[in-house]
């Protein structure tokens, strides 16, 4: 995502989190459900909290 107007410089990770805030629709730190639709019938639920735990582990370990 391009930042046309920047009032302050942000680390690169911040823009990924901005994007995930939006693409995952629930805010990144919230424990919510990301629903994946497959074949229009099966709904698979991924626990967002598990994802965030993994993100944290990979970024800081």
């Amino acid at each position: 995502m391009t930042e046309l107007v920047e009032l302050s410089v942000e680390p690169r990770a911040a823009s990924l989190v901005d994007l995930l805030d939006r693409l995952l629709a629930a805010g990144v730190v919230v424990a919510g459900d990301l629903t994946i639709s497959l074949a229009g019938v099966d709904l698979v639920t991924v626990r967002l909290r598990a994802l965030i735990t993994t993100v944290r582990r990979e970024m800081y370990d």
């Binding site: 930042e3 009032l7 990770a13 990144v28 990301l34 629903t35």
Partner: protein
């Protein structure tokens, strides 16, 4: 399981083949528009080895995969949004094939038409505000004349910090209200976790605004004015974004 599936990016007003030239999606695949009446769904073909139920579940836990996929999803949606009114779908919306994607479009048609009408000629802008670190207080122990004096000064410092936090939160709420009054719609996302964003100052505002394209200059000028006037906050303005925060179409 091998084979392919259809990845859905967004519901849009119909796009011509010309308007779609050069629009690439996941894995660099050409993005196609499947049309039904006055609506289209933007799709590309993905491999079930990557986007099947089980691989997808694993991949979503892989930060580098997530970052790359989010980036490619965003690039396709952003490019489309510059050309026609676009209602983005949630990331990783996958159908077995194009027919199933068209079926999904027909099911969503009514809701999608309403959403698209609200999004015509508008973009999303993001405004984040962080509490600025206040000047480090004079070390209490060094200047304290007595034990009682030390404790009094400590209490005063703690009270000052609490006052500052309250003032900063009020200032952030005021900024949100002022900018909301210039927007077609506004929403507040949860503040980002410093561990995820890499920004240490506490985030007090993580807002998104839907702005008329012909009022963008007024909006960004107002944001910059508020940023210049703020005493306890530092701002970041991002955009234009596709209307992610105002167009998520859920299953009916």
């Amino acid at each position: 399981v091998s084979g392919t599936a259809t990845y859905l990016y967004a519901i849009t007003r119909p796009m011509s083949v010309d308007q779609l030239s050069g629009v690439r999606g996941i894995g660099g695949e050409q993005v196609r528009a499947l049309r039904d009446g006055e609506l289209a769904v933007l799709v590309s073909t993905v491999s079930l080895d990557e986007f099947g139920e089980e691989p997808l579940r694993e991949n979503l836990g892989d930060l580098s995969w997530l970052e790359a996929t989010a980036g490619m999803h965003d690039l396709a949606v952003s490019t489309a949004a510059k050309r026609v009114t676009t209602a983005p779908l949630r990331m990783a919306t996958i159908c077995l094939d194009d027919d199933a994607a068209l079926g999904r479009l027909r099911k969503l048609a009514r809701a999608a038409s309403t959403v698209l009408a609200r999004l015509d000629n508008r973009d999303e802008w993001g405004v984040k505000a962080y509490a600025v670190a206040t000047e480090p207080a004079q070390p209490v122990a060094a200047s304290a004349r007595s034990g009682t004096d030390y404790l009094q000064r400590r209490r005063r410092q703690t009270a000052d910090r609490q006052d500052q936090a309250v003032a900063a939160a009020e200032e952030a709420a005021g900024v949100y209200d002022q900018l909301s009054s210039m927007a077609v719609a506004a929403c507040r996302h949860r503040p980002q976790d410093p561990q995820l964003s890499g920004v240490e100052e506490p985030m007090l505002l993580n807002a998104a605004f839907l702005i008329d394209r012909d009022r963008v200059d007024t909006f960004t000028a107002a944001a910059q004015q508020l940023a210049a006037a703020a005493t306890s906050l530092r701002f970041a303005l991002t955009g234009p974004w596709p209307p992610y925060s105002f167009a998520i179409i859920d299953e009916p």
